[in-house]
């Protein structure tokens, strides 16, 4: 697929997006720890917001990497990001309260190895390859960890593999009704992968604008959040899940409106077409 990828100039510098994304997702994911601190579940939605912050950063990274013309299409970058990310996220989750930081370190190691292999062995010889794959692996890991934390209210491994089920009024602990035991982690994997690979793939080309692409990234992130919020009804309390759902829908609605407005701004012309009405009495 030797399609020329054009990237718009201007906008926020990439390093600034990187810092906002990394610090923002780390802080937001640590806010879900308030659940453990206050013995509640209402703070689960911060995990989803962490995923959105990471996705915005990741989209900007994909934009930089893919402007070199990988030849494999934009989605492949999203796939390697989430592939490295999910391993780092689950390994990191086993380290308790240190989980988000360990996740970032492990993701950086896996990403660096993949980047070195791509540049030194496969000979892609792309200057930003190693740093981009490190960033993408961290983004993938934070997305998986954030969405998983949103689904079950905690980023700790034991919380992800244990769930409760009530039969005839008795509550018993089981490994089957959990984020990992129920293979919800596979759904989260694909939700993250679609969210990270779609935005730049949809917006690339002449006239690409950074704010429009990143708004679409946030919109995709909130769309994935809505799905995870619905999933979280099975794992966390009714009202906590409802809060998460409302936050995701408001976020999605806002970013969607903004994305449509930005698309109208960048479009050459815009026609608000009306649905074609059937004439009365039939044609």
């Amino acid at each position: 697929m030797s399609v020329k990828v054009e990237v718009g100039a201007g906008g926020i510098p990439h390093n600034q997006v990187l810092i906002y994304g990394l610090v923002g997702s780390l802080v937001l994911i640590y806010l879900t720890y308030l659940n453990t601190y206050f013995q509640t579940q209402y703070f689960a939605f911060f995990g989803g917001l962490a995923a959105v912050a990471a996705l915005i950063w990741g989209t900007d990274t994909i934009k930089h990497l893919c402007s070199y013309g990988l030849g494999t299409g934009v989605p492949s970058a999203g796939m390697i990001a989430l592939g490295s990310g999910v391993i780092a996220a689950l390994f990191g989750a086993t380290t308790g309260v240190l989980a988000p930081i360990v996740t970032v370190i492990i993701a950086a190691i896996i990403g660096a190895v993949a980047g070195l292999m791509a540049n030194a062995v496969v000979r892609m010889d792309i200057p930003v390859m190693v740093i981009s794959l490190i960033e993408l692996a961290i983004v993938g890991a934070m997305t998986v960890l954030g969405l998983a934390a949103m689904a079950c209210g905690t980023f700790e491994f034991l919380g992800m593999i244990t769930g409760t089920v009530s039969i005839l009024g008795f509550t018993i602990q089981t490994y089957e009704t959990s984020v990992i035991g129920g293979s919800i982690i596979a759904v989260i994997f694909m939700l993250g992968a679609i969210a990270i690979q779609h935005s730049f793939n949809a917006c690339l080309g002449p006239g690409e604008q950074q704010d429009r692409t990143l708004t679409l990234a946030a919109e995709c992130g909130f769309l994935s959040m809505i799905t995870v919020a619905i999933i979280s009804f099975a794992f966390i309390g009714m009202y906590a899940a409802l809060v998460a759902l409302v936050v995701s829908i408001i976020g999605w609605f806002y970013t969607y409106r903004k994305y449509i407005a930005l698309s109208k701004r960048d479009a050459y012309a815009w026609l608000d077409a009306q649905p074609i009405m059937e004439p009365k009495g039939g044609a």
């Binding site: 592939g83 190895v113 496969v122 000979r123």
Partner: protein
């Protein structure tokens, strides 16, 4: 390609750099040493299985006729999508086949995985040709060779001007099936090795029976197999810079580079997957 640089489209194969080879060997030895330190001989065997699985996946990708965007317009031979999508399809179909057959022992499960991946590619390749020939009205003709190595059919008189060939010649069909089978085999091997590790460790860790932890073990092994499958598939995709016609394509000769890269990436990702449960409860 953009003005920024990017992969050089040279005729010959650029061999891996010396630093790349040294780093590769060091990383594989370190990973094997860590596996022995953490889980003794079982860990080493599992990691070797994972490396072989990853190498099979990367090698299999080289057989699959990936056409990319030009193929969608009938301007180059192959299946009209990227490596990431095809590999995910074949790998997941193989993984489902292999996971279903896992209780019947290693040989049956591996065969199940290979048949699953091969079957998916066989159906895909057949339907791609049905659409190309009966839907778009274009004959199958390779642009890279003059004669099909298996059937002896000649191509130049069927090839349209200005294209690199079109459709899916018989050799590409065979390549697709072989590639799918190798991918399914590799993915299943990774899954089975990880499943063995988790089924041995989780009952001790959680003080539960093998049946109780089965959902967690299967889910973890499955998601890690998918993740490693995608990492290796994307590295192989970088190696063929996106498109390949099948085993007769000159790009096929590049496969040793992908095998080194996949072995190292699988070793590093695999060691984190194997060591996953070592830190549970430490922090």
């Amino acid at each position: 390609m953009s003005a920024l640089g990017g992969p050089k489209q040279t005729g010959g194969v650029q061999s891996p750099t010396a630093i790349g080879i040294v780093i590769s060997i060091v990383l594989i030895i370190v990973a094997l040493g860590l596996a022995y330190y953490l889980v003794q001989m079982a860990g080493v065997i599992a990691l070797v299985g994972i490396i072989i699985g990853g190498v099979l996946v990367a090698f299999g990708v080289h057989f699959v006729p990936v056409g990319g965007a030009p193929a969608a317009m009938g301007q180059s031979p192959g299946i009209a999508t990227g490596v990431a999508m095809l590999a995910a399809g074949a790998g997941l179909a193989g993984l489902f086949g292999g996971a279903w057959a896992a209780p019947f022992g290693l040989a049956v499960a591996l065969a199940g995985g290979a048949v699953g991946g091969g079957l998916l590619m066989a159906i895909t390749c057949t339907m791609v040709n049905v659409i190309y020939i009966f839907g778009m009205g274009i004959p199958a003709a390779s642009g890279k060779v003059d004669k099909d190595p298996i059937t002896g059919d000649t191509f130049p008189e069927y090839k349209s001007q200005g294209t690199e060939g079109h459709g899916l010649p018989f050799i590409s069909w065979i390549g697709g099936v072989v590639g799918g089978a190798l991918g399914g085999l590799g993915g299943t091997l990774i899954y089975l090795e990880l499943l063995d590790i988790y089924q041995a460790q989780l009952p001790v860790l959680l003080n539960a029976t093998v049946e109780q932890i089965a959902p967690v073990a299967i889910s973890l092994a499955g998601i890690f197999a998918v993740a490693m499958f995608l990492i290796n598939a994307v590295l192989a995709a970088y190696n063929i810079t996106g498109t390949i016609e099948g085993p007769h394509d000159p790009k096929f000769k590049r496969f040793p580079r992908a095998i080194i890269a996949a072995a190292v990436a699988s070793a590093v990702a695999g060691i984190f997957a194997i060591a996953l449960l070592e830190l549970v409860g430490v922090f």
